[in-house]
Symmetry: C3
Subunit: 303 residues, 3 copies
């Protein structure tokens, strides 16, 4: 869980993911010698802050977004949300501007107005994120940004034994998207990939519970193609790994952008569920994480 | 009208269109020998559940979506809508899960919550559609899913004498889209096509009436390019076929995705109007259907 | 300011931009001999009503939308908005239908219903725009459609000395977009361009004031990539040109479509602020216009 903790501590709200990019590139460089297959590492200016790892002859791509929700400093002491953060007065926020490091307090008024409380003015446009408070118990891990540092963690764990597949680290998922279309284009054009798994974190609800296994989402605001999801369910069933079926009418993911891209991608969201969504206290059951990693290994081998 | 009735009976909500795909492919196979020109039939895994027919040297493409609105079974007895179905308690819904065929009743509470009433629990993720009740009178046809089985019917009728053109059967139109971008890409790249007609069904309103002819939409939520629409109006005017001009501020179609695709497509929605939109009782005047088919033949020849 | 006045008088609501296209093409033809570099002029049927000018070896593209907000005539005397016009009873609207030129009055009822008052019925689908009333003082220019005829004006001024770069005149920005994706595709494929500046007009607010210089938007509804915006800020700072930093949670531009296109474009909105947004009385400070042009020249040279 050290890796997960480290990931959760990296400042990378949507649009400002470069610290995550650097970390992931370093991690890959330091660890890939231990992996079963050496991936081709694709990044740099033509990929903005995104990264693509290509293992062997890929048929399926894992998409894990690196960005997090947060806040942008506006005028006076106002804040504008990045993505859809839970906003309660008293939450601690961190960031940095030209004057130095910042740790301030979030204030939310009754009309939904957001502001910060800090000893000095913060420079216009500075982005702030929840202060990290990583907690681990026998059964659970808890921190801000399980969504989606856990999706990144899962992807990196799968890399260890992956023989054929793409692993894509995307940006801006929490706020308007924009990287998945060109990433999809690249892997479709260069490798003919048209199957995807969305390595992301979903919600504990009346139908999806802590500790019951990884959630396979049959739909959210968007509806993946039934034929593809049925193949995933078949592989999941045969694997013996604990899984839960999710059906939602709202919420979306990198899958939305794959669906709407000019490339014929099938996609399915497969991820552990969390409580306290988009708050500093996102909580995930360790068993569900284990099931997520195990199922991804099966799916990447068999799809 | 036998063909239309058969089309209306096929279970194919957004994301699960494969039964329509199979039917259309079979229909084309069985009937194309009687058609003026033998089309190239493009389908299969790289096209998900979509179909493209290419006749001669295409300049214009007809887009007809195969999917319908419906409902997804969530947890307990809850339902989540697929697209924007009219939802009244008492509507009959049909579908199938691993335990067998389903015919159940829709319940809609005052807060917009949807559920089903059935003798047993239905499996999570099962999709349900309105029960078919096809009615035909001297003047009208009436059934669920005139939108858009009538658009598919129109396209298949136009195929009979089509010399040059693409006919595209798309998916997911009722729920988030996603197939039009890659279909547009394919026909633009391979055939240079950049003109489209949206074969879909619109609304009877204060300005568009039953029996007054096919509607040519000057705009809906999106605005097609005036230069292109003006050419369509010219051809319509010269043809002597009954038509009506529609102007709306809302509603959208496969045209939206063509508009926003990275290919310079002109598009115009041309279709018969219906009453009781998105309900089990969609009603269309036969004269408007005849005008729709006749005008499509003119437009495909002259655009 | 003669050129700006002329631009403001051209009838070109979203979807019907061809009069602007013709004007800009004529203007380029008549004036380019005086420009430092002769651009390649790209337009015609494959570009709908859009225009691309290519100077030298482009690294960065200026996007300036040619369309304006307005109104479409529906049934009876109803109007449907094009984009988001300010709508107050008494505003004068102009247009043309087959029966001749139109100057009528806008009526807005309490429920947001819009209609026109005119001596005769106006043909269905006719588009109307605000009547032009160009006003110039020592410090300000004021008229409808500063947004975005001023963005077009800025782009044409920058052309005079531009050595390397694309200048793109887009359509539909005010209403649903749709041209930027194929324009982005063209310049990315043919010239490898992946940097953009959005030449558009923004808002006077609590943080952005008349006469304080051109606004550089750090974000609106969408968030550009921080790395790219930081480079722009550096160049702006070094230039000594007056500029202001903008941070908004809403509003969008051609930048949105670049962000979401399947090409890895970086973008930043850089434009003068206006008062009385989307009304017949849009007002901009002349100093901010001068700063806008000056900063664009710097950015196009140094990015």
């Amino acid at each position: 869980m050290e890796l997960l903790k480290t990931l959760c501590e990296i400042h990378a709200p949507s649009g400002n993911e470069s610290a995550m990019t650097d970390f992931v590139l370093d991690y890959v460089k330091s660890n890939k010698s231990k992996w079963t297959v050496q991936p081709k590492v694709i990044s740099g200016d033509s990929f903005q802050d995104c990264i693509i790892l290509v293992f062997g002859e890929p048929r399926t791509a894992i998409f894990a977004h690196m960005d997090s929700i947060g806040f942008t400093v506006r005028y006076e002491d106002q804040l504008v949300p990045i993505g859809g953060p839970q906003s309660e007065s008293g939450y601690r926020l961190t960031g940095q501007d030209a004057l130095g490091p910042i740790e301030c307090e979030l204030l939310a008024d009754d009309e939904g107005g957001l502001s910060y409380k800090f000893g000095r003015a913060i420079q216009r446009g500075t982005d702030l994120v929840f202060k990290t408070n990583f907690r681990e118990s026998q059964e659970y891990v808890q921190c801000c940004y399980m969504d989606n540092r856990l999706g990144v963690y899962n992807a990196l764990k799968v890399c260890e034994t992956l023989e054929n597949g793409c692993v894509v680290f995307s940006c801006w998922e929490e706020h308007g998207g924009g990287s998945v279309p060109f990433l999809a284009r690249y892997i479709h054009h260069n490798y003919g990939v048209k199957q995807a798994l969305i390595s992301d974190i979903t919600w504990v609800t009346g139908g999806v519970h802590h500790g019951k296994g990884v959630a396979i989402s049959l739909r959210d605001r968007h509806i993946p193609r039934k034929k593809y999801v049925d193949r995933i369910l078949e592989i999941a069933e045969e694997s013996g790994i604990d899984y839960q079926l999710e059906v939602e009418g709202s919420g979306s993911s990198d899958g939305r952008e794959l669906q709407q891209s000019p490339y014929p991608f099938d996609w399915c969201f497969v991820g552990a569920p969390e409580d306290n969504v988009h708050s500093p206290d996102e909580k995930v059951h360790k068993h569900d994480i284990e099931c997520m990693i195990a199922l991804y290994k099966e799916l990447m081998a068999k799809l």
